[in-house]
Amino acid sequence: MRRLVLLASLFLLAACAPAGKGARGPDMGVILADDPAPSLSDYGLFADMATGAPAPGVLPYDLINPLFTDHAAKHRFVFVPGGQTAAYRETEVFDFPVGSVLVKTFAFAPDMRAPEDGQWRVETRLLIHKAGGWAAYPYVWNAAQTEAVYSPAGQRIGIETISPDGAPLQLRYAMPNQNQCKTCHQTGKDIAPIGPKARHLAHEGQLARWEAAGILSGLPEGVAGEPYAFDPSAPLDLRARAWLDVNCAHCHKADGSASNSGLWLSSTETGPARIGILKHPVAAGRGSGGLKQVIVPGDPDASILLYRMASTEPGVAMPELGRSVTDPDSLALIREWIAAMETE
């Protein structure tokens, strides 16, 4: 699996990284400061900025199903301050102590069929658990790929590469502004992480590694994650719900930024109307595409959900942020799922 190859190569990089700026390890003064540091290296999260190798105590991790972000490769790291642990929770994000940092670097390669070859890092986003709650800070990498600078205003850059299915891919990749971080990372009035939930992390011994690294406590026996959304050997319904959970439910939940839609797409939701089955839209506008219900069982082409996933037009496209091209694999999955639903 591609993700594993990536991680392995990063470990190798870490092993041979020269000591340099940041080799001292995470700087709690910078991490807990009221304001963001001007440069990513100031945090000491990386042993070597040029290679992206993490500092000691900064652990790479991955998600079973990552959010689709224009085919960007993502490298995730977690840091929990020494001697402390994140407390396990069954359905919500783990309870991370103050001082924890979640790091996500977005990168592109000349050919995304081999995303580890010749990567260009575009941006690194930090989620830091400050004393007063989580804060989100975006950093944009320089042309020399030696440093990333705090860039709260957001911007778009043009990217040309080869997509994972081998076709030429031209993007206007959007680096979000700091407020847009919160659009997705919202829980009530607060910012919160999305990914580090048991159901997204529990595969290939990852949670045991967190526990062994001393950053996770309370891990029960036998925690099972959701299936990989594109593993055809897993049940279709579970795969589709897992995909919606990761790609939609950060906004489409009771205390998320799409709460007012009444369409809540977490894999833990159970009500048919709640996840859109035969639900009428409330504020879709032209996002309805002239269709009348969010999901029409057995009829993907009559379902607003799929229509908005298949669009790249602002005001129609969902998610609203982070996607400027469509993902054929995701469309095929959701199409198959709706088509297989029993009609009444």
Binding site: W120, G154, Q178, N179, V282, A284
Partner: protein
């Protein structure tokens, strides 16, 4: 791979610019006390977004005069900020080339004032505020300059899930859903505004305690709508007063994309009350609405929400002026009117008083107009409609008018 780095580097400079803007005065008073406007040079969208992020509570951000092209949505998440332009027709944020985001400007913080600027041609909604308490929308224009079109954004001014909402002296044109839409909110004033060429001029939906007055709703598909919908986090909309409005010539074709609830609004309706409770419509002037001046109706689609009541209840209609209208009913009203001779009176009730297998309810619709104001109950009984079951009657239902809610008072009214 090529990476276009042209965009890089500008952000830091722009941040520095933002940091140079002086802090606001203690009082938001005369213009002479305002800080200098943002620079109109360079990438204005980046300048403005940087200022919105760097703003401190209490700060006023002043927009310069001019028309500015923006390619991405703007957002504000700092409490107590005032965003102020040079005037509704002088500072224009033009989103014709918008590449992303669901609206032009999104506000998610409390105690925000937006005033004296225009937002134009957004791909989605114009200005949205969500969970933004004590917001003020004042002297704003939101419009789609190509006129009514299915591809226009849904809502012009769009506060949702908020407490204490003030919308005043705004103008909204050509929204493909509602010009001014207040949803799932509590304690609301919409006043002294002009809404025209939208599908719905003003819509109060799944909200409590709203005063809508002094507005001109003209040339929309439907003038002013008070709705309650099922399967939303907040439901049970109630206690709205609609008064002293001019509601005329709302005869624009319905250009809402199908699937949206307003796509079923018949062109030519003045006020629609659907599935809401305790709604008072008085002292308005209705004229030249070709379907009906006032339409009172139930929610007609299937639903599973057990909290939900699809009937309009406890309505009071009094002291309105009804000019000509009802002469050419449209949409779902057209076939019903045809069976009645082709026209409809000023006030039309669908006559639905039960749903599912339930018994008839006392919906208490008080039509306290003079005898010259026409009324008809279509006597449909329940949904789905069985045309054979139509039992039209000009007799006004027996009712005892419920007490009128007190005038809405907003804590930010003197801001």
């Amino acid at each position: 791979m090529t990476i276009d780095l042209r965009a890089l580097g500008s952000a830091a400079i722009l941040l520095a610019l933002a940091a140079c803007s002086p802090t606001t005065s203690d009082k938001a008073g005369a213009i002479s006390e305002l800080p200098a406007p943002l620079s109109a040079e360079g990438d204005f969208g980046a300048t403005l977004q940087a200022a919105l992020i760097a703003a401190k509570p209490g700060e006023t951000i002043v927009l310069p005069e001019g028309t500015f092209q923006l390619i991405d949505g703007l957002s504000l998440d700092v409490d107590g900020v005032t965003l102020r332009g040079a005037g509704q027709d002088k500072t224009i944020l033009d989103f014709t080339g918008q590449e992303g985001a669901g609206e032009g400007l999104l506000v998610t913080s409390d105690d925000v004032t937006l005033m004296d600027f225009a937002v134009r041609n957004t791909k989605g909604d114009g200005i949205k505020s969500k969970g933004a308490d004590q917001i003020i929308y004042r002297y704003l224009t939101v419009e789609w300059t190509g006129g009514p079109d299915e591809t226009n954004g849904a809502y012009g001014v769009y506060p949702v899930e908020s407490k204490n909402v003030l919308v005043e002296n705004v103008t909204v044109r050509a929204a493909s859903d509602a010009g001014i839409y207040v949803g799932q909110s509590d304690n609301i004033i919409v006043r002294n505004s002009v809404v025209e060429y939208n599908v719905a001029g003003i819509e109060i939906e799944n909200s409590m305690n709203a005063d809508v007055y002094g507005n001109i709703a003209r040339n929309n598909t439907g003038g002013i709508l008070v709705f309650d919908l099922p399967d939303l986090p907040v439901t049970g909309g109630n206690s709205t007063r609609i008064f002293d409005n001019e509601i005329s010539s709302n005869n624009t074709r319905n250009f809402a994309p199908a699937g949206n609830i307003v796509a079923s609004v018949p062109s030519g309706t003045g006020v629609i009350v659907m599935a809401n409770q305790n709604v008072h419509v008085f002292d308005n002037k209705f004229d030249d609405n070709r379907s009906a001046h006032v339409l009172i109706m139930s929610y007609s689609l299937p639903f599973t929400d057990e909290r939900y009541n699809p009937l309009p209840r406890d309505l009071v209609l009094r002291d309105n002026f009804y000019g000509a209208g009802g002469n050419d009913p449209q949409g779902d009203l057209a076939p019903l009117a045809a069976a009645l001779g082709g026209t409809l009176p000023a006030i039309v009730w669908d006559g639905v008083d039960r749903w599912g297998e339930g018994a008839a309810q006392d919906v208490n619709l008080a039509v306290l107009e003079g005898p010259e104001a026409g009324f008809i109950s279509l006597g449909l009984g329940k949904y789905p409609i069985d045309p054979a079951a139509m039992a039209p009657s000009p007799e006004r239902p027996a009712a005892s008018a419920v007490a009128e809610p007190a005038a809405i008072v907003l804590p930010q009214a003197d801001r």
